[in-house]
């Protein structure tokens, strides 16, 4: 028990102090690149010797970024730019910037205007990613990303180093998936906040190091007896759900996250890279082609996401879904009515909480979540 508490608190520390982590990493003589959401093949940067640092905005107020973005943009982008403008990412060797949504498009342009001194490796994923021509195009994009990172790092990325990086990432993804499962079983040990912090810490660590810690946590959790207070199990869905005030509400009302459909969490480690398929860049492109169940991606199988969300709920024994709706995220907002309808049809209760990273008052979220928790409990009587 003590070991788990210590490990959890160590990871919580990492999750809360990315600045210190970056400083420590540079002090060790390593270089770091910033990675903006979504679906960046970090393995390429890792193979070039970089420690990839995820940049998913931060909590606080938008100040400087207001010179670039009007107010009606999601805070993941606005706060990401705020970090760039407030000197927090000056020590990064470069950033990798995808462009999969309508906010990331102008974000990329604002970033390079605001910080021309930080190399920006641009990445335009395909939406028609499953067809051969889509995979071929992804390989071209990844090859360019690789060449740019090689130039910045001053090293050549070999197929072997890339294959090794893929293994490191696959192992980490597997460990995170297992942790998510276990966290849902032991909420008294892993609070909603701790769970999020453990997952978040992966963004500020060498993944092999993260895996090492995580495997210890997972093993210790496996050894625990059944949790006497399993709470009301739910699935969370949204872009990001790492706010301590919000997650405290989960813990306060006995809500256990049994699984998630959150971009910052499980959506980012659901799919492994098939290592057997020869060329590692092609393997990474195939991994992207396998991504689905995400409003940011075009989905030719129109009912798939709703169906899979219902499956996720049923498979993890959850009783409801909590949508943490990122304000101004139009892909999420456009997908929501159908997903809600699909859940309703399957008699899966759900509730939506509006969220952004500038939010300070969680009173209404508290009212909603408490009622939802009570509703799920009274529903069973």
């Amino acid at each position: 028990m003590n070991e788990i508490t210590e490990l959890l608190s160590e990871m919580s520390d990492i999750a809360q102090n990315p600045d210190m982590r970056l400083a420590a990493c540079l002090a060790e003589g390593r270089k770091a690149v910033g990675v903006f959401p979504y679906y960046v093949p970090e393995e390429i940067a890792y193979a070039a010797g970089f420690v990839p640092f995820g940049i998913w905005g931060m909590q606080g107020s938008v100040r400087e970024a207001g010179r670039y973005f009007p107010a009606f943009y999601c805070t993941v982008a606005r706060m990401g730019l705020e970090l760039a403008l407030s000197g927090k990412i000056d020590k990064l060797s470069a950033v990798i910037m995808p462009s999969v949504c309508d906010t990331l498009r102008p974000f990329s342009q604002n970033f390079k205007s605001a910080r021309p001194d930080i190399p920006m490796v641009f990445l335009a994923h395909p939406q028609n990613r499953k067809e051969d021509f889509g995979i071929a195009y992804t390989v071209c994009e990844y090859r360019r990303v690789k060449a740019e990172l090689e130039g910045i790092a001053g090293v050549k990325i070999t197929d072997e180093s890339l294959a090794d990086a893929i293994c490191v990432y696959n192992e980490n993804r597997a460990a995170r998936r297992e942790f998510v499962r276990l966290a849902g079983l032991y909420p008294s040990t892993v609070s909603a906040l701790r769970r999020a912090e453990v997952l978040k810490s992966a963004y500020f660590m060498d993944k092999s190091e993260h895996t090492r810690l995580l495997l210890r946590i997972n093993a210790a959790l496996c050894a625990l007896p059944h949790d006497p207070q399993p709470g009301v199990k739910v699935v969370t869905s949204g872009i990001i759900a790492d706010n301590a005030n919000l997650l405290d509400i989960f813990d306060r009302y006995g809500i256990t996250v049994a699984a998630d459909d959150v971009a910052h969490e499980s959506r980012s480690f659901r799919v492994d890279t098939p290592i057997k398929s020869g060329d590692p860049l092609t393997a990474l492109a195939r991994q992207f082609s396998e991504q689905s169940d995400d409003p940011l991606l075009y989905e030719p199988d129109l009912d798939r996401r709703g169906r899979r969300l219902v499956d996720l709920v049923l498979n993890c024994g959850a009783r409801g879904v909590i949508f943490i709706m990122m304000q101004f995220c139009d892909p999420e907002e456009l997908d929501y009515p159908n997903i809600k309808k699909t859940l309703d049809r399957a008699s899966v209760p759900s509730v939506m909480i509006g969220y952004d990273q500038q939010m300070r008052d969680f009173g209404q979220a508290g009212t909603s979540l408490e009622a939802f928790s009570d509703m799920l409990r009274t529903r069973l009587q």
């Binding site: 973005f69 102008p106 067809e131 994009e141 456009l334």
Partner: protein
Amino acid sequence: MSENKQARTVLREIVDSVYRRAWEAKERGEPVGWSSSKFPAEIAETLGLAVCYPENQAAAIAAKHGGQRMCEYAESMGFSNDICAYARISLAYADGAPCEEKPVPQPDFLLCCNNICNCMTKWYENIARMRGIPLIMVDIPFNNTVDVPDERVAYVRAQFEAAITKLETISGKKWDNKRFDEVCANANRSAAAWLKACAYCAVKPSPLSGFDLFNHMANIVTARCKPETAAAFEQLAAEYEQSVKSGESTWHYDENYRIMFEGIPCWPVLGSLFKPLKDSGANTTAVVYAPAFGFVYNGIDEMARAYCKAPNSVCIEAGVAWREDLCRENGVDGILVHYNRSCKPWSGYMFEMERRWRERLGVPVVGFDGDQADPRNFSEAQYQTRVEGLVELMAAANAANSAQ
């Protein structure tokens, strides 16, 4: 008889005929498509498929004051009021919301191209799901460089080919390269004539009110592959030429100032937009739609490359250059920027563009908050104050210039 018709009448009739043909096709039991405005229209036209344009429909509904009602309907369906108002209107219509402002036949297939925005993708997925119809997706990734890389052109071209195969099945017709060449020739002729007509904004005083171009844009969106459109734009250019000679203009007010209007107009409140401009004699002589839709190409690879360049798919350097050229060519004194709640990819880098314009063009730039189709996101009071501010700045600049 048609000889006597003014070009703008002819242009309006052509757009009407696009929708009329769609209704006729529907009645004959032929499939009717809905297409995004910058999906390669050449493809459906070559296969003789009738197509409607939801963005154009939404703009028409909004201009006839149905925007708020339709948006509220979509909000009742669960769609957030932060979503693009065109999308909300279109989703409401596809769900069967009563709408007399601009009825169009419900779709049997969808042509989606995200070069203008990614909102398109989820919007069309929703309609495909609601109506149980096929969706043909052409994905055009955002460009961070002025030049489009060859591998991206290859990706887009491969999607054109996949789209053609799917549309052959939907239409039951075989692809005909000769017909395709003809259609492309028409599209190119329309584009060239559109650019020629738009170029008359450069004349001082301008023979046209720049807001006219917003109306004529319907043609370049919905009917650019039709020879009638090309002919009508050529006629429009000829009329402008005549107006220049006779000193006439569709702008019936003083032309004290010449401005660029940046963004899509607020269709529900066109009168409100227009009023302070005409009162102060500020004619719009530059709109970015001219270069955005006036592209000419040769062959399918060049066509793929051309469709990679939409207002919201080009990098800031290209975006600034488009406007800079426009402003210089058309002698602009100031810029009015619409911060459009409906259009994230467009409005998202405008603050930086503003700075670059100020620096490079030395003209005042003023922004206002609005929406292309939801009147609830526009404040007339704020707009008037902003325009007054712009006019004062332009007046001060003019005074300083004449003092020198």
